[in-house]
Amino acid sequence: MRGGALGSVQSGVQDDQRGLNMAQPTRPTHYQPLGSPIWQQTRQWAGGQAPAAPLWLFWLSAGLAALAALAGAAAALHLALSGHHLSGMGTQLVWGIPHVFALTLILAGAGALVVAASGQLTATTPLAATTRLGSIVASALLIGGLAVLVFDLGRPDQLPVTFQHFNPASSFARNIFFYLGFFAIVGLLLWSLLDPALARYRRLIGWLALIWPLLLATNVGSIFALLAAHEGFRSGLLFPLFVSAALAYGSAVLLLGWLAANGLTPAVTARGANARGTISSPVMAPHVATPPTATHPTTKRLSRLLALFLAAHAAVLLVHLLSLLYSPAARDVARFLLIDGGIYPVLFWFGMVAVGVILPSLLLLAGVIRQRTSHFAVAAGLVLLGGLAHLFVMVVGVQAHPVALIPGYEVTGAAFDGEVFSYQPTLWEWLIGLSGVAIAWLTALVAVGVLPLTPRPAAATRGSSAPDTLDTPDTPASQSATDPVD
């Protein structure tokens, strides 16, 4: 294989034969070496050029995320000591804002690992460039989501019990198994990528990493799909719905991560400015100046995947809604969620449908036509926001709708009999929910800073300021630029 740098990927059909294989043990130089954290790289190998944006932004965003994470932990401690009456949740509505965040994070993490693993399996496609980053982002998201779940427990001090007693009939207990396996597989995946000794197990590990998160997402769906008590939950369609949600959120978050994290590699910033398609306000990447353009094959592939998964998710969602509407028992709750349930229809139609599906679809299309990565980034962010809105409607809204205690009878009595639960999330719940995002962000940020996760052109290894091929269009010049490596 020649032209091992990213540039060769752009040669279209040839990808399959001779394109990029970042994981080649003979090409470790495509990544910065292990043990050179971001705050040392700028000195070490920026080829004498200072990064385009200052490093203090990296520390600032890490510090803010750490603060938010601490605030969430403090809120959790406060809830554990004083009691859950400080939250807006109650007997009828037992899972609220924290769980919406947790589910979004966990599903996004599962989806991100699926995309990353498929990059591992199809090592010659542009997706391969996302395997390292994707697996780290995936586990960061899972860590954030799980932290939220633990923060919200009524008795977090009893957590060790979950490892002593295991009920396989419980989706939660099965999930513990899937979560632990997830981290083990991500560890294996990274190990196989960073250590040439494990190179021959890469395919096996790749398959594991592809299937496991799909199982995980399915099992997360089973938490709700198997709840007989609520007409709004009990549905086998929740399994594909959660899988498609995971794929959509996962590809969105990976697209965001890919666009942002590439700015962290000095090789990208060290080269001359490329005016086309920059992110105006980089979130994760402080000294981003010229992230890959919209024409970069990995960006292209990720954005197409996002469009595909989003369409699939919308289709499954449509089927789910139709099944709710056509099932006489569920018609009440469907009406509540879609038409007259107060905040829930608003969030569904505006938050999920408009902001979460239609707008990002248009933006992805516009991004392809106008070749703007900023469109892609905004679209990915909107998909995640739409996911939050959707899960809020689906998880909280269904609980807010009163349970049919005795079908056919009108039941009144206690505060939770026949009444819509008016859920007013408190500050504590928001802190706990947001801290999950902060923890995921912080974990990913530190990992991107410390580990060699994003590829860089071979040219930068030698500290020269030769033009890299990361985001130049496919030209013979870019091919030849990478040739000296061989």
Partner: protein
Amino acid sequence: MSEDASATRTLSRRRFLGRCLGAGTAAAGLLLAPGVWLLHGGGAAAAAADGEPGPDRTRSSPRSPRWGLLIDTQRCSAECSACIDACQEENGWPEPEHPQQDPQWIRKVTVRGPGDSERSLPMLCQHCQNPPCASVCPTRATFRRADGIVLVDKHRCIGCRYCMIACPFQVRFMPQRPVAEASPNHPRGKGAAEGCTLCVHRVDRGQQPACVERCAADGHGALLFGDLNDPGSALSEALRDYGGAPLRSDLGLAARVHYRGLS
């Protein structure tokens, strides 16, 4: 060259999708297994047995009692709350300050049925034979005893509230504020799930649940407690002679609390 070899090993799209399908099928089996196990009756029984050493006393034999309750809605009066008072005194839960959050092990509900007939009835844990709360509990804190009483082993409860969302009757609670002082009859604490125990401490002494006793003394004698496994018990006879049905039989819960006078 090794690089060429690696190039030929790369997957075509068709093979990739094919393998995805195969692997997905295998994976689906892995997910199905626990469900089949649950179907086999493993859920609640195993939740009680839990692999602890000693003789297996949790599998019920036909001769062991199976406690049940019959609630006669034609006798129950909307004004009466004798059962609730008795339960509060017996088990030490206070009057709910915030009805949306605080526990009410037993509550009175008004049921308006077809033909505008209005009934008042107590709603409490239905002690299902197939309790959804027990099958979803990750640590098997919620379990069904051999005699059919559904209990929470609070030593194991982590406060995830999965059982609360799984219960079709909303009769499971989590004390959300510190418990001032627990009754010696029933230890309870903030953050651990709880619900009606059918006064298990009294039943084990050979007594009737507090609500049943009080209803007979101060109320209207609307509650009848007994052994469903004993065809000669007053409960079995009453069910045979006058009828009575569990709630939500459509969900296959096989609840042990029966109501008479609803439809």
